[in-house]
């Protein structure tokens, strides 16, 4: 029977056992048998789609099965299958070029809505921002991803930063803009334009600041804290090789 070597972090689920004998003629079958015995391990080894998580490596007699036949690699009795962790982590990253493209579009379309006296256009921008907030992406970021970046017109500006406050800021802007496009009037549309401009030209994200202040007040769901040494809402300091 093949043998599975279990790394330290998973031994908590195997009662401290470092090795287990399993049945199966392929790597996939052996893993199935292994998980049938220790069902709590499934969520850590596989993602929701049933794919092996990227940080799980399987070595068959010290060869990575990715270089063999993957999960279909056949096993012989006496083979030794090792589960080896890739240990990884680090800060979250935000591409500020996508954010700036978004801010520029919000400003331009907001101004256009005012000039054309078209609350519908303002409402459309608000809707795009709401959709972006739900999807966790800047509403007009696709212009950057599909056109500006591939054409080399705007370079990526990837900084170590928290995505959540920017998402909150966009959702907040969307609500204010909806209110402006509806009954309350152009003053609120101008407020959104002004705050987007403050972010675009001065690097201060007012919505992010609100997020961090709510976090300071320990409001549930606002768990991120600003980069060290930065005022809440200020863009993180650029470092030349960040994420590039």
């Amino acid at each position: 029977m093949p043998n599975i070597k279990i790394p330290s972090p998973l031994r908590y689920y195997t009662g401290g056992q470092a090795e287990a004998e399993v049945q199966g003629e392929t790597v996939a079958a052996a893993l199935d048998d292994f998980i049938a015995r220790f069902p709590d391990l499934r969520q850590h080894l596989f993602n929701g789609k049933g794919e092996l998580r990227p940080f799980v490596n399987l070595f068959l007699n010290s060869e990575d099965v990715r270089h063999l036949q993957g999960l279909d690699t056949p096993l012989q009795p006496g083979d030794r299958l090792m589960i080896v962790p890739s240990v990884a982590g680090g800060l979250d990253r935000v591409d500020h070029s996508a954010l700036r493209t978004n801010q520029a579009f919000i400003i331009l379309l907001g101004l256009l809505a005012f000039i054309l006296n078209s609350p519908w256009l303002a409402a459309f921008v608000a809707l795009a921002m709401a959709v972006g907030t739900v999807l966790g992406a800047p509403a007009f970021g696709f212009v950057y991803r599909r056109a500006l970046r591939p054409l080399g017109l705007v370079k990526p500006d990837v900084l170590a930063d928290n995505p959540e406050p920017h998402r909150f800021a966009q959702g907040f802007g969307s609500v204010v803009l909806f209110a402006g496009a509806g009954a309350i009037g152009w003053a609120l549309v101008w407020l959104v334009i002004a705050l987007a401009a403050l972010n675009l030209f001065a690097g201060f994200c007012a919505g992010c600041a609100v997020y961090y202040w709510l976090g300071r007040l320990r409001v549930p769901g606002f768990s991120r804290t600003p980069p060290e040494g930065r005022l809440p809402g200020m863009r993180p300091r650029p470092r030349p090789s960040d994420g590039r």
């Binding site: 790394p7 330290s8 972090p9 998973l10 031994r11 908590y12 689920y13 709590d40 969520q43 850590h44 990227p54 940080f55 490596n57 070595f59 990575d64 090792m82 080896v84 962790p85 890739s86 240990v87 990884a88 982590g89 680090g90 800060l91 979250d92 990253r93 170590a160 928290n162 995505p163 768990s223 991120r224 804290t225 600003p226 980069p227 060290e228 040494g229 993180p236 300091r237 470092r239 090789s241 960040d242 994420g243 590039r244």
Partner: protein
Amino acid sequence: MTIAISAEVLRQIHAHGEQAYPEEGAGLLLGRRAGGRKQVVQILGLANTREDGSRRNRYLLSPQDYLWGEEQAEQSGLEVLGVFHSHPDHPNLPSEYDLEWAWPSFFYVITSLRAGQAIDSRAWLLADDRSGFEEEPIEVYQAQT
């Protein structure tokens, strides 16, 4: 479960982060279980094998380095209790990316640095359902063991 780290080992963790600055530094925590707590007695600083440019906000320890670490631990009668890494110019809270890549039952000790100086470290443990991290208090002790 509490994690106990000697003042000397904690100093080494901070020094490792400072040496790696402005990149992220990382390594393994080796130790033993003792009476309901886990005691870190040694660290293994390992190479950040992320590609150039990414090391400022990401770390990756290769499977080979991990295996080597586990062998080192077993030879000394210890086990790998977790991982330490630094967050240059960012708080010592785990990120979404940390969560995505987290192993269960491992202590994740994160050190925040500002302008190259280590400020503080906090320890985190992945929740059983992978929904988030829970903070575990670090007990710093002076004694030699």
